[in-house]
Symmetry: C2
Subunit: 177 residues, 2 copies
DNA sequence: CAAAAAAACTTTAAGCTTAAAATATCACCG
DNA sequence: CGGTGATATTTTAAGCTTAAAGTTTTTTTG
């Protein structure tokens, strides 16, 4: 949630760019507004899905996300792999896994070949619970985007793909100024 | 960060839709993939901006966001107004404001006409600090999107605007199933 | 006006999240 | 084999975030 103006700067536009007589650096309000709108969209969707997950299944989004990662990997996955895929810190995964194990939805076992590594997988109860949640989740998302035509969905996918590539390029070059 | 497969489901596609003989509810993998890609993009950008904010200015993103809301409102704003604009809970704003006041970047004062309400505004130091950060922030965002052509930026803005409208419609109707 | 409802804000408890430091184990190299 | 560096994970401290309950003040309404 949040990050700067969100709704405000997103709705209004206030291009007082001409008031900017500063030297070298150009006006990049368009990119800024795009970022804020992107964030607003994501926040709105995330908030709604989180709300429904709690209300309907009494589960948090991070736990659901973690289970989703494990769904198609019956043999399990290491904590490090989970961390990479979920794009969150190692310590975060440790905590989430602990709680899900306590709930009986996950099981962990030490790797036979590497005693540092721990494999995590869904229990039978976990698989059952996830299947039920995933079905509804998919419907919720579909409804959230229901006003977009198929072509618009596709166009958005493509453009977001380009944006993703641009971000990746930007963050991987220029590690420092 | 996170929400489901993110990178995984986003990258792969696995349309095993035909394996879905279940009755009534249609296949909505396209919407699901769109949501995951949207989330991936936002997460990548947010993580990078957060990292730079910490490294360059030793500030958190939520604090920067809050300051951004106050930038163009010298007379200040109530905590409730801040909460609405930032799309976060009231209690969250209370805590952020407390910390920023402690740092000397914000000041609060009780409303003259409503003793429940508190106005918050940037101090001189806060305005100075924000101006410096905002300039660089704008450049960071511009660079993240640098590979998109102007037309693509605009197309993305438009499509995200439609998505936002769709989400708003979906969350405001159908409060319950 | 007095009671009831609403509004603005704070507090609390729980959980999420991260960065950084600490542990433990493994892999490699001489 | 012994040391060095890398890897996998956990722990810690701090901060973010929310929902729900609580406080104070204002507004509405009978």
């Amino acid at each position: 949630m949040s990050v700067e103006a969100a709704e405000t700067l997103d709705a209004e536009v206030h291009l007082d760019s001409e008031s900017r007589a500063h030297g070298d650096h150009a006006d990049h309000k368009a990119e800024l507004r795009l970022w804020l709108r992107l964030l607003t969209c994501t926040t709105m969707i995330e908030t709604e899905i989180r709300r429904r997950m709690r209300e309907r299944f009494d589960i948090t989004l991070p736990r659901f996300d973690l289970m989703a990662q494990l769904e198609r990997t019956p043999e399990g996955m290491t904590l490090g792999e989970l961390s990479k895929r979920m794009m969150v810190s190692n310590g975060n995964v440790t905590g989430l896994v602990d709680r899900l194990v306590t709930e009986g939805l996950l099981q962990r076992r030490q790797s036979d070949t590497d005693r540092r590594a721990h494999y995590v997988s869904l229990t039978a109860a976990g698989r059952r619970a996830f299947a039920a949640m995933a079905d509804e989740h998919e419907d919720w998302v579909a409804d959230l985007f229901a006003d977009l035509a198929p072509g618009e969905l596709e166009a958005l996918m493509t453009l977001l793909g380009k944006a993703k590539a641009s971000v990746r390029r930007s963050t991987q070059n220029a590690v420092e100024t």
